[in-house]
Amino acid sequence: MVESSKISTVGGDLNDFTRNEAGEISPTIENFFRYCSERKLMAVRCEQCETIHLPPRPFCSKCYSSNLEWFKLKGKGKLLTYSIVHVPPPQFETIAPYAVGVVKLEEGVNLPGVIKLKDMKNLNIGIELIVDFETLPFESWLGRTRYYFKEP
């Protein structure tokens, strides 16, 4: 379950999307995580060359266009590679050992993240995973909501 929280981040209130002059939601990392707190995994697509950027960026690094549009990813993909972290940073000590991996999403872009399976024995390259969201027990400038991967 995701609880809407009101942690102050760099751009201000977590729940207030920052917008450009035209009133569109800006393609920033913070807004990506604001979408996560609404349980939406979002990327931006370049309107000129159709490259998908995940994480979102303010302009297209392929064709240098600034016309980028947010869209919702299906949140489904296949595991490209993984590791099980046994010696974690302090924030993750309570959940260690935990699995992390890089997932190739159906839209063709990759995303890293924590992987949670009912039976970790099923952790293998090539397995199908879906995105879900959770609230972390620690804060950062990106708020507390994170996406993670689990079995469909």
């Binding site: 990392i29 990506f32 995580f33 994480p55 490209l80 590679t81 993984y82 590791s83 099980i84 972290v85 046994h86 010696v87 974690p88 940073p89 302090p90 924030q91 993750f92 000590e93 959940i95 050992p97 935990y98 992390v100 991996g101 890089v102 990759n110 995303l111 890293p112 993240g113 924590v114 390259i125 950062s140 990106l142 994170r146």
Partner: protein, 410 residues
């Protein structure tokens, strides 16, 4: 192209170690490396000959709450009022500093420049140190998701195993070789073969290991980030290294056997691992290698020996493929066959590598060129590569956001 040729005229480093330097902070460590560097100049050099300092410390803000460290080190080495600048590129910091030092001389601005790096790491506990070093990763997309540095190289290893049908056993050839090389290096953190360490532990704990593999597969070698175990990871070490650079015109005044910088390759790649098409190669390394070979007008086959960035064992295998020493998928097999040992087909990490020599982050790049300096001057003792003419260093920032390749000649 460089307007003027640049040479190494001196090199110094502290031993890399986790407990030996307990009483020293960054400044004392760097002074120690600097004094050895001064002493190494054949025809002697004075402080007053040095025109500028480019120095690296990767995360001194975390380890010692100390930024603005360049002028501090200039002061402590007695070099004030020369200009001192800090250069940061994660684990590739001091090779970046060496590169800037070369540019500063090649431009004609300076004749003699001191470059180097220092890292005092043991002030933090392992978990805090892990988090400090994760500042070199993409914060929102790796760090805060719990993806650690070993985790990234572990993911590369698993992708490599899958693609080339290899396994963790292949990695052990790297740690065994690098421990062997480090056993002959008085500057190395670990100066013992893995089997000697296994024997010591077995005596202390009443265990028995039949051979290296028996030890490496045991719980005594615990997982850090699966499939990587403790002996797949470079240790936490304190240390410093320093190199004196001179214009080729001035170099002869200080030594009859300078070492010349002939190739420089420095490239940036995506900071995030997930942003790469192929997770079994570091594209920035490939490109940095190509640029350095092109500038030196040589090919990978011409390299006699190389120090490559083996922060974790899979990194050495991937590096030897990225640099063109071995075909894709064959780097691990080459190591198993002994082709990368000292005076093998390609001597790799003659100093013990990051794995066994140690990896005080910002000190690593110029410690690699320290070993190249020793080898090219025939001063590497038991580690000496026969007829060493051309040496290469390969230094990677974190998981490949930065890659630096430098080529040196006698």
């Amino acid at each position: 192209m460089l307007m003027n040729k640049v040479a190494l005229i001196g090199a110094g480093m502290t031993r890399f170690h986790h407990s030996l330097h307990k009483d020293k902070s960054s400044r004392e460590l760097f002074v120690e490396a600097f004094l050895e560097c001064l002493d190494s100049v054949d025809k002697s050099i004075s402080h007053k000959d040095i025109d500028a300092l480019f120095i690296s410390a990767t995360a001194s803000e975390f380890f010692e709450h100390q930024s603005h460290i360049a002028c501090l080190l200039s002061d402590w080495t007695g070099l004030n009022p020369i200009p001192a600048t800090r250069i940061e590129a994660a684990c590739a910091s001091s090779s970046a500093a060496l590169e800037i030092g070369v540019f500063a001389i090649a431009s004609g601005m300076y004749d003699i420049v001191l470059v180097g790096g220092v890292e005092k790491m043991t002030t933090l506990e392992v978990d805090e140190m892990t988090y400090a070093l994760m500042s070199g990763l993409d914060h929102p997309y790796e760090c805060i998701l719990g993806v650690s540095n070993p985790g990234l190289y572990a993911m590369m290893a698993n992708a490599y195993f899958e693609k080339y049908d290899s396994s963790w056993e292949e990695l052990t050839s790297i740690s065994i070789k690098n421990h062997h090389n480090a056993s002959m290096n008085p500057k190395a953190h670990f100066q013992s073969e893995i089997m000697d360490i296994a024997k010591k532990i077995s005596q202390k704990k009443g265990l028995k290991f039949d051979n290296e593999m028996d030890f490496l597969k045991s719980p005594t070698n615990p997982y850090i980030a699966h499939p990587l175990r403790l002996f797949d990871c470079s240790p936490v070490s304190d240390g410093a290294s320093a190199i004196l650079l001179a214009s080729s015109k001035k170099a002869k005044k200080f030594t009859d056997t300078p070492v010349y910088v002939t190739g420089l390759g420095h490239t940036s790649g995506t900071m995030s691992l997930h942003d790469r098409r192929d997770l079994t190669s570091i594209p920035a390394s490939v490109e940095a290698g190509n640029r350095a070979y092109k500038m030196a007008k040589i090919e990978s086959k011409d390299i006699d020996f190389a120090m490559v960035h083996d922060c974790f064992t899979p990194a050495e295998i991937i590096a030897t493929e990225d640099l063109g020493f071995f075909p894709r998928g064959e780097g691990g097999k080459a190591a198993i066959e002994g082709r990368t040992r000292i005076n093998g087909e390609k001597s790799i990490n003659t100093d013990g590598g990051l794995k066994a020599k140690g990896h005080p982050i910002a000190a690593t790049g110029t410690a690699m060129s320290y070993e190249v300096w020793k080898q090219l001057r025939g001063e590497a003792d038991k580690r000496q590569v026969n007829n060493a003419e051309i040496g290469l260093i390969h230094n990677v920032g974190a998981s490949g956001g930065t890659a630096i390749v430098q080529i040196f000649r006698r």
